[in-house]
């Protein structure tokens, strides 16, 4: 089952030394922290925290405004981060990387700006049942405003996209297909290259929600030929409040601004404003300069490890966990069984114990997991559950973490009298 690459060179335990949060002594009476909730938000290494504080300590000034040295340095470092981001996802041009606060903002930007100018009554948009609410709600809002209709790609029994249904839905000639690369609730990796090829052939643009893919595997926007891609810095070792909207240059250039204000103009008179070029057109107001610089540092840190290695490390943990978990009585895991079609996410139910009870018991062992609907209520409905417990992996996790998780699940069973 394991992908036929070299074993990962990543040693989760050694990597933890780079992360202050793992150096902290646990609260008295608690075991050392096992952090299995990186899909919600990752931890951050010292190099990222230092990059943020170094900005404030040494080069702090507003950007793109002052002609004094500090402001020039700040601007330089901010634009450097944009170059790093462009390289990280292999964008043809750094101008195609718009700094946003998070994935949600990136998708809202496209829904508002592109949607308002391109969607007309009767037009269709194609989403999928496995989307995070942030790739559903903005489309519902703009569809209602514009009189457009949304179709949803259904799922197979093991929570993959039903590609036959996708082919059929493309016959409705949607103007846009917006799908997630990796499901945050099941870990399913969708075949984005194939989806893009087919969508383009049907005349649709494609937006990819890459919140769970860019942090965990190599992603190349040119190879995938995506039109838009959204991801958050905080899920990839970067600061909260940092993120990227990637868009193909000619598409972004034809889009009107999303917000009006400072920094996004060329010329303002009392009658009319002409707008700045990319990327400034979409970055109104003072941005999160330090945080985006921190995101640049996070990307450099990840590139130092190699994204192939990051992915391989998670495949190894996933392989191990999927082998061990069936030994826990009452456990049902969702998502594809083949680790090549799944990221480091395991969503499960444990007998009739509610996910919140499972996670409270795991918390008593200082194991952090996520419990709930994972902002994917349509997917939960499809699974026939109201909530699942989710463990997700990143570079600092180890097989020991998986062992602790499994021991915690046995304990939950014991408390609820299931075994």
């Amino acid at each position: 089952m394991t992908a036929t690459t070299q074993p990962s060179t990543i040693d989760g335990l050694a990597i933890r030394k780079d992360f202050p949060i793992f150096q902290q002594a646990p609260t008295e009476g608690r075991l050392p922290l096992v952090f299995l909730d990186s899909a919600a938000s990752s931890q951050r290494p010292a190099v990222v925290i230092d990059a943020v504080s170094d900005f404030y300590a040494r080069t702090n000034a507003n950007i793109h405004r002052g002609v004094y040295q500090l402001s020039e340095q700040a601007t330089l470092r901010y634009e450097e981060a944009r170059h790093i981001a462009a390289q990280f996802i292999n964008a043809a041009n750094p101008r195609e990387c718009i700094f946003v606060r998070n994935t949600t903002e990136a998708i809202n930007l496209v829904a508002s700006s592109w949607g308002r100018t391109n969607l007309n009554p009767g037009d269709r948009i194609l989403l999928s049942v496995m989307e995070h609410h942030s790739n559903i709600v903005p489309w519902q809002m703009i569809a209602e405003e514009r009189g457009a209709t949304i179709d949803y790609i259904p799922l197979t029994g093991d929570q993959r996209l039903d590609l036959e249904a996708f082919d059929a839905l493309l016959k409705n000639e949607p103007k846009l297909v917006a799908v997630t690369h990796v499901s945050n609730a099941t870990g399913t990796i969708n075949p984005i290259a194939e989806i893009v090829r087919k969508a383009h052939a049907a005349g649709a643009l494609v937006l990819v929600d890459a919140a769970q893919s860019v942090p965990h595997m190599p992603v190349d926007v040119q190879a995938l030929d995506v039109d838009f891609m959204a991801f958050s810095g905080h899920k990839m070792l970067g600061p909260m409040g940092s993120g990227i909207l990637y868009g193909k240059r000619e598409i972004l250039e034809a889009m009107p601004p999303y917000m009006g204000g400072g920094s996004m103009i060329r010329k303002v008179t009392l009658e009319k404003t002409t707008f700045a070029d990319l990327p400034a057109r979409f970055e109104a107001g003072t941005p999160a300069v330090a945080d985006q610089i921190g995101l640049g540092a996070a990307m450099q840190y990840l590139s130092g490890m190699g994204m192939e290695n990051v992915r391989q490390h998670e495949i190894e943990l996933l392989d191990y966990a999927l082998e061990q978990l069936p030994g826990v009585p009452g456990l049902t895991a969702f998502g594809p069984e083949d680790v090549n079609e799944r990221a480091g996410v395991i969503s499960f139910t444990l007998g009739d114990i509610h996910a919140h009870d499972v996670s409270s018991i795991l918390d008593s062992e200082n194991i952090a997991v996520r419990a709930g609907h994972h902002c994917a209520q349509p997917l939960m409905h499809d699974l026939g559950v109201t909530a699942t417990t989710r463990a997700s992996f990143y570079v600092y996790n180890t097989k020991d973490d998986v062992d602790r998780l499994i021991a915690g699940l046995h304990k939950a069973n014991k408390i609820f009298g299931l075994s």
Binding site: H354, A355, H356, S360, S364, G372, H373, F416
Partner: protein, 128 residues
Amino acid sequence: MSDDLYRDIILDHYRNPRNRGTLDPADYSYEDVNPLCGDEIRIDVRVKDDKIDESAFSGRGCAISQASASILMEMTDGKSLDDVKAITKEDLLEELMVPISPARLKCALLSLKVLKAGIYGVGHEDED
């Protein structure tokens, strides 16, 4: 901490809930969800002489929310409506007899919110 949370009283009420079911007809019925974890609780009440004559809860969710509803049914059985209106969050938490962390408060208090909203009439449901 959570070992204490799942003490026998919670597990007992969760496994053997008191007054589980629905009443039809009922004088007061109300249901609500905890959007965070999807806990659902519905409470039906029949009143006689301004006192709770019969009550029942239904719904699904975590052990804390369901056990708390069951405990609330016991607490309010035969009580006057005025007495029920006077029950505070602290009163219910005290009856639960386990430490509830901030993250689980909404689970623990959902039943009280539902019962009061029912008795006061819809629209007065949120007091936090």
